[in-house]
Symmetry: C2
Subunit: 406 residues, 2 copies
Amino acid sequence: MIRADFALRHAGQLATMVPAAGDPLGRIRDGALAAREGRVVWIGEDRELESQVTLDGDLLDTQGACVIPGLVDAHTHPVFAGSRADEFAERASGVPYAVQQSEERGIARTVRATREADEPTLLALAQARANRFLANGTTTIEAKTGYGLDLDNEAKLLDVLRKLAGRTPLRVVPTFLGAHVPPPGIDRDLYVRSLIDEMLPAFRPWADFCDAWCEAPAFTAKETRAILTRARSLGYGLRVHAAQLAPGEGPDIAAALEARSADHLEFATPAQIRALAKAGTVAVLCPGANFTTHGPRPPIDAMRQATLPMAIASDLNPGTSNSESLPHAMSLACVQWGMTPVEVLLGATVHAARSLKLDGVAGCLQVGSFADCAILDVETPEAIPYYVGVNRVIATVAGGVTWQPS
Amino acid sequence: MIRADFALRHAGQLATMVPAAGDPLGRIRDGALAAREGRVVWIGEDRELESQVTLDGDLLDTQGACVIPGLVDAHTHPVFAGSRADEFAERASGVPYAVQQSEERGIARTVRATREADEPTLLALAQARANRFLANGTTTIEAKTGYGLDLDNEAKLLDVLRKLAGRTPLRVVPTFLGAHVPPPGIDRDLYVRSLIDEMLPAFRPWADFCDAWCEAPAFTAKETRAILTRARSLGYGLRVHAAQLAPGEGPDIAAALEARSADHLEFATPAQIRALAKAGTVAVLCPGANFTTHGPRPPIDAMRQATLPMAIASDLNPGTSNSESLPHAMSLACVQWGMTPVEVLLGATVHAARSLKLDGVAGCLQVGSFADCAILDVETPEAIPYYVGVNRVIATVAGGVTWQPS
């Protein structure tokens, strides 16, 4: 008998995301799952649970609901203060996002508010966001800094992320995004030098990934290459904000440096997409930001042709996507971009996990994986995006524990 | 002293929706409100509450959150069984909505599933939907039948609505929509005769409004005129599904018969819009359906010029808008159509209430109005649509009682 301290039973459909004959979602009907110390120890049909598992702990009867792996959000900016609601309204009235970037507004405005906020305030804000991620079925997030933009303030944000991870069952994968935009009031060459010589070495213990935005409002190709090359030599995994607003070299740099992810990619070329696929990079698509900035459809068809894995992310941030809901991002990707429900389901689980080097442990359910699940009031996993803008998550399990809002 | 059995205090901003000097939302900063027997008896600044009101009942401290009138959803189809998730996915892949309407699919498919479902099943489904409306800040819905489409089954749906109203604090305004589409398997002239001669007279005690869909997949202008003229003579208020998929006479009929609402209106002409404004009709816009069917932008600018009141509705239905969230519909209207936050706030409160003949009692907060409120974790009421696809409602008050999920 297998010993377990948590079990879940009577999942009408349990999507393992481990492809099985004819089913890319590897679903088990009337499924069950058992876990010990946060990891799955058994998974199968409910009628076999009792004969194979000895349970000493909580039993969750999902009463026919759908169970999927806890969602994995591969692109979020969860540590910030201040509001940019007026900029959202302005964009609705036709002002382009790029025009909103100045030393007073746009990202710079969030940087100012975030610098002014003390650590307890930022931690409380981030924790409220963690609760909303969990409430919407997400159990793992990639979490970027990038609103500090100097040594002390970026350190403060990394500290908030470290403390957040200790206070929430949400898994928090920290990414250093000092190269978000050049901060106001400092020579950009000086800032790039500080990134390369001071921040990157100092922050290596606190961040798994380094990210940079390679685009006109942010960093040049040359700067991006210098920053990410240094990050790579220090052992960071790499991510790149690339080709969101215009064509550019971001995707080439991501491919050349074998970045784990290239994000946004609205303006990536077919050749760049092929290069990303060859490099083992994951395309992290951000439908929420695309939606509120009226961006063009990313080259989904070229990505399909190149078999470039497409992750779907919330891109939670105060400028372009103020939402912790991956199911909503999935709906947007289906409606706006014509992605299929299966594509967006894989995008918010396995492909997202791959971009975070969590292949096989997050975004799927199998023996040895995290016991992270979202339990949803939906008829099939494919129906998740059909419920648009309304939360159908009944419960979230993280590490074999049913989450309750803190 | 004013006696009250409920009070709410410390609303950071309390939007009354009663226009005040320079503020269309009539907001009170650090506001408070007191109610007795479900109606507002006092509203003002928090610092005046204690000196003016004697409270014998619940006190809700909103701790600086925003308080707005409970949202009013002027167009919903909440009584149905079955799923059309596959049709949602199909549309994402490019199949037009109109092509999906047949005797086997589209609305006809929901009619079949709804006829097959017994009343307790339909009531349980509707009650789950009522809970989701309330969870997302809505306290009043217009609720259509229209998936029965014969005497017995439409009676069953009206009965479900009547029972639902007794089991939820959500206010349910029933609309008879026998003229949704001509049902399969019966001669359409016979069906129209049955509507006019049997159903309309029989159902008058159970429905406040009568609605008809005047459009190619549904009823002709002549049929619509006959049905609604009869309904009017019986004392129903009128609503019309009009010009959603193509230009047509629907808006003209709505104006000529002084309908309370003309709904969808993507293809209404400027002349029709002026006629609707003159007739005192409210335009009930449905951004959720527009979104998933890839409809064109409704003629918002012409509506503004004509000062035609624009309500925003969820259009909850299993085909085109599977969502009980008005905040989400408001986000869509801002992002997709360029409506302003103030326009969508008024659209989901005062204008929606006007279309339901609830002017002054629902969708606003003043002495004598329903004590229905949504309490939101947002910085200002205008920020509500800025949070896209994620529920920021902290609590919902209906009739002076804080709602708890049933």
